[in-house]
Amino acid sequence: MILTVTLNPTLDKFYWVDHLPLSLERVEEEILIRARKSVSSAGGKGINVSVFLACMGVETVAMGFLAGHTGQIILRDLLERGVTANFVWIEGENRTNITILEKGKEYHPVKIHEEGPRIPTHAQELFLKKYRRMLKRAEYVVLAGAIPPGIPETIYKDLAREAKAAGVKVVVHAGRRPLWEAVKTGPFFVKPDVREELVVGDMPVRTEEEIVAAGKKAVEYGCQACLISHHITGDILITPEGIWEYEAEIPLTKFKNLVGADDALVGGVLYRLTKGDDLLEAVKFGMAAALASAEVEPKLCLAPAVIEHEMRTVEVRRKEDR
């Protein structure tokens, strides 16, 4: 079973518009934008990984905090997609994250992310109890996404330590300090989220050399694999055995929705690892899952045949031996 932790779940709301007039140069009473289409779905990095895995037939349990009417919608969506849900309920309302995709510029979305509800101390204690219980039945745990108000930034480090002590492989898919604190525990697989800032820990990751240096630092801490995005269609994998570059030649205009692509990548890697693939092949499948997801309007591509086909576009080159 693969356990995913999403401390700040969201209802992802997507709007597709023909034109997005963002300029305020003209004096107008209001700007009305008519959506050609809109879709909502349960979201948050860990939840997206669980949805991907459940659709691939892998047993997965999603954990975190749910609140209010939005929490009910998130739960319903998860249950309908075959994800086992084990959440702590709190007062308030889960966040809604909005993405606006303009026709022809889908690779450059406009996003509005809410902060999410504050998590009270007693709810955090309840969550830890449930987490420890679920670790006893898990093979992997995925610690993913933003930290909500009220929870310390060291939470992933603490959760990673508990998982390692229980013999569970840890995957960290987050950004900034929460990620780097967890890296210091030597997790199995790390996928830094560098969307907001091209930094891993306190190291910039703008160039190939900087990415490799940051990945090597993670490996020094005991990580078995660190996968860092170089650009939209290229990732670099740093492991104790060597460094590999994954690249796909796909024009940006082919992308329809980039939200969730990274999560499909992590889900794809885990799916293939549970099937017995080696890490290099699993990452190739993960990258194909990310590309296939970016090329469709729904957040995730959940068709194994399409992902398999996409694997042909991914080239893998060994960059360096260790």
């Binding site: 349990v61 929490g71 009910q72 086992t84 959440f87 309920w89 006893k136």
Partner: protein, 144 residues
């Protein structure tokens, strides 16, 4: 159809030492009228229902009169509920009532009717809670 195909994979639950006011809070927030009770291993050890809590809060002579219409107001029930609020769920929970992942829909429906339950927990071979089946899950399947 088997329980594994019918069930909601929702593990919302309480533990035997969860306090009654916390269980009521969870029922309200999660919109559930029944909560499975699990131990530290995640194994089912009982269930607690709204019905159990209401009955525990009613005056003892309710069993004879089968009505609360003679009460001047709900103060007596409120007083009793406040006394119960900081007691553990284990004081009020029912015995383990569950079905197995491979039980058939007819058996499950019969169980829900006989035990007058709105939902029933589903367990695996080791007794771990793996989901719940509500009456409405069976009804909605049958009308499709």
């Amino acid at each position: 159809m088997k329980a594994r195909e019918l069930m909601r994979r929702d593990l919302t639950s309480v533990e035997p030492d969860t306090l009654i006011h916390e269980a009521i809070y969870l029922m309200e927030q999660a919109g559930l009228s029944t909560l499975p009770v699990v131990d530290e291993e995640g194994k089912l050890v009982g269930i607690i229902t709204e019905h159990d809590l209401i009955h525990a809060a009613l005056p003892e002579y309710f069993e004879m009169l089968h009505s609360i219409s003679f009460l001047p107001n709900l103060n007596q029930i409120q007083k009793r509920l406040k006394e119960m609020a900081f007691k553990p769920v284990s004081d009020y929970m029912k015995e383990v009532l569950s079905v197995h992942l491979d039980d058939e829909d007819l058996h499950i429906a019969d169980f829900l009717i006989r035990k007058r339950l709105k939902q029933i927990p589903v367990v695996d071979d080791e007794g771990h809670l793996v989901g719940v089946i509500r009456r409405i899950d069976i009804l909605s399947r049958l009308v499709r």
